[in-house]
Symmetry: C2
Subunit: 372 residues, 2 copies
DNA sequence: GCAACAGGCACAATCGATTGTGTAAAGTAA
DNA sequence: TTACTTTACACAATCGATTGTGCCTGTTGC
């Protein structure tokens, strides 16, 4: 039986044209080619034109490896994230890639899989790839930060985002989680809630700690009592939240509002409330955190806090580029906190109509269904 | 006011140690170092030990740029995707990165933003970065495939995934969409549906064309009539689907089952059916496609087809690595079609209990809630 | 005892672009 | 005309690792 297919060509492999080829063709030196292409002042306009035209003709593409080797810096940025899944990280990466490519950089992406050892290895790889800068979101298991000193030691720009090393001598971009917790809780209060439970996440993670703090801030501001019995700690899983709310509802004074530090927890709470025959938001208002896709399609849609994923990516790149431009010169580390956006939906705004406005709190942005 | 912070160090920039440094320290040539590190046979075991030890001591990291420049191939794979968002592409990229890094490769990722011009530019960039191979999922606007010839011309391994160039002279990995459509429809028939509508997507996209074909296959197999009036074409948006079902339900002979070519369409259909007071699945069974996150949390959860995103990434990398290993030698192009997985949930299986089994069709895998 | 041989290592060219320095020719000022 | 700039380009070293070739030493074979 004859082979079904023709085989890939391997004889007509076009080797890419190099500056040497152009130089030979024009009878000039490689110096001239290089400088003409980079618009160096010591090359005459006539020669520049000739070189440019020839480069077009042969579709010359500079070898980035050679260039980077010589200059000691590539046009690559390294990203280290715990993983590329869910809603958050992909969106941030999307923002990063978009901003980076706009600035002429490309990104090489690594996953730590929530493992410090892998994170360390990734850093080494990025270093050996001579990236121009590194963006990191810490793995959950990272407690020791010495591996980042090596990066610093090389004078390589380093920016943390979302899961950051705390302190003011690092460059970091985060969401203002405390503000997010505050906005949510304040909104619940404005909706008339007086006994607001908080489904809190693991407190060793700064994000959950901050969301809780924002919750407390809002209570205090409104003169409401802080009641630890209204705060339930869990890993933010849907069923844990349901179970938690179940217990709270069984008490003598059940809550009339729930601020969940995560959308899955909010979902669990919503489902549990409905199982108990409660109306949401009339009997109990529920808000979440993260603006997961599903929050728009539940009945009712869930009020939540958007994390500005794309902006976070953009801001991180901006900061990194500033660092790269500083090029080793003194640079005062910056910590950027992005303002979260409260998205008011019907799980809290019982007076909001479906058209997209909240009657009670017109200052807040109301968001209904989202296009696929 | 004094600056609040100490500035980043710029004097103690540790320049990475090179092979030359090691050679100097040991009083041998760079050749020896290089060959010792790569375990070349012409280096004695004693010397190898000395070199290895010194390399450890100085934490030597080879400069990948230099290596790649010399060898003409880097340890980088290029990915070009339309965008990094939603559920599908991030998951595939996750699979790709995982498989690639396991094989010692890193990935540089580019977004085409559904724009051919950008796609072309991305290819050029990857070429100039001297990647070892390229993985592409086509932009929606790509009709002309000449820019891929340049990649081929260089003899660079190229694999398409999901959105592929059709034909049997390319390397490609896709989901067997036709099988997915077939499985879904067959399942609906097994559930007792006799008048099954199909919410179809744009037919110039092979995925939607194939899903529709699978639907037709199942109908034919079961001896059910093909009724074009039961097939509604749209862009798969939630509201379009709702509107479409609305019309179908108003006819004299409304459908008792709906196979939507996308989950958002299925969701729209589900909501519309419920608005009309119909019970799902008792009055009308509904199934979707893609296994979007939200399909597990609707009431009832939606039966759907999982696209094996991760496996697609892994399979693509495997194919690409095979091509790289072939190293220009004749290679018969391969087209891989992954078997989709039908996830039966309560939107179709009215006889299924919540515990996770389908009474009617025990051969099918029933999937309930999914952990966050 | 001499040749053929293998082991172990160094020399030097190479990948492709960049850049400090050198040097003609052309232009300007006095 | 002399001296001094500018303009426009070439030379050659360099980034760091790789690799074909060559050389020397010690070993084996007969």
């Amino acid at each position: 039986m004859a082979p079904r297919k023709k085989q890939v060509a391997d004889v007509n492999n076009t080797s890419p044209v190099s500056m040497a080829d152009l130089a030979r063709e024009l009878g000039v030196s490689m110096t001239t080619i290089s400088r003409a292409l980079s618009d160096h002042h010591s090359i005459g306009p006539a020669m520049k034109q000739k070189v440019l035209k020839l480069a077009k003709k042969y579709n010359y593409q500079p070898n980035r490896l050679a260039s980077a080797l010589r200059k000691g810096k590539s046009q690559l940025l390294g990203i280290v994230v715990p993983y590329i899944e869910g809603r958050f990280f992909p969106s941030v990466v999307h923002g990063i890639e978009t901003a980076a490519s706009k600035a002429g950089y490309n990104v090489i992406i690594c996953q730590s899989n929530e493992d410090v050892a892998q994170e360390r290895r990734n850093l080494d790889i990025l270093l050996s790839a001579q990236v121009a800068g590194i963006l990191v979101s810490l793995s959950r298991t990272t407690r020791d930060f010495r591996h980042f000193e090596k990066v610093r030691g090389r004078g390589l720009p380093l920016v943390f985002f979302d899961r950051v090393v705390e302190g003011d001598n690092v460059n970091a971009v985060v969401l203002d989680d405390q503000e997010g917790g505050y906005l949510s809780t304040r909104h619940l209060i404005a909706q008339g809630c007086r006994r607001i439970a908080h489904l809190a996440g693991p407190q060793h993670l700064n994000i959950y700690r901050n969301r809780r703090q924002g919750y407390l801030d809002a209570l205090r501001e409104a003169g409401l009592p802080e009641d630890e019995s209204l705060i339930l700690y869990s890993d933010m899983a849907q069923d844990q939240a349901a179970e938690g709310l179940h217990q709270l509802l069984a008490t003598a004074r059940p809550p009339d509002g729930v601020f969940a530090a995560g959308d899955y927890a909010a979902l669990g709470a919503l489902q549990e409330a409905q199982r108990q025959g409660l109306r949401v938001p009339e009997d109990v208002a529920i808000s979440g955190f993260s603006n997961e896709t599903f929050t728009t399609i539940t009945q009712p849609p869930i009020t939540t806090v958007d994390q500005r994923c794309e902006e976070m990516g953009q801001a991180s790149v901006r900061l990194l580029l500033d660092l790269i431009e500083a090029d080793g010169r003194p640079f005062t580390p910056r910590q950027v906190a992005l303002r979260p956006e409260l998205l008011v939906r019907q799980s809290t705004a019982y007076s909001a109509d479906t058209q997209g406005r909240s009657v009670r709190d017109p200052a807040l942005k109301f968001v209904g269904d989202v296009a696929p």
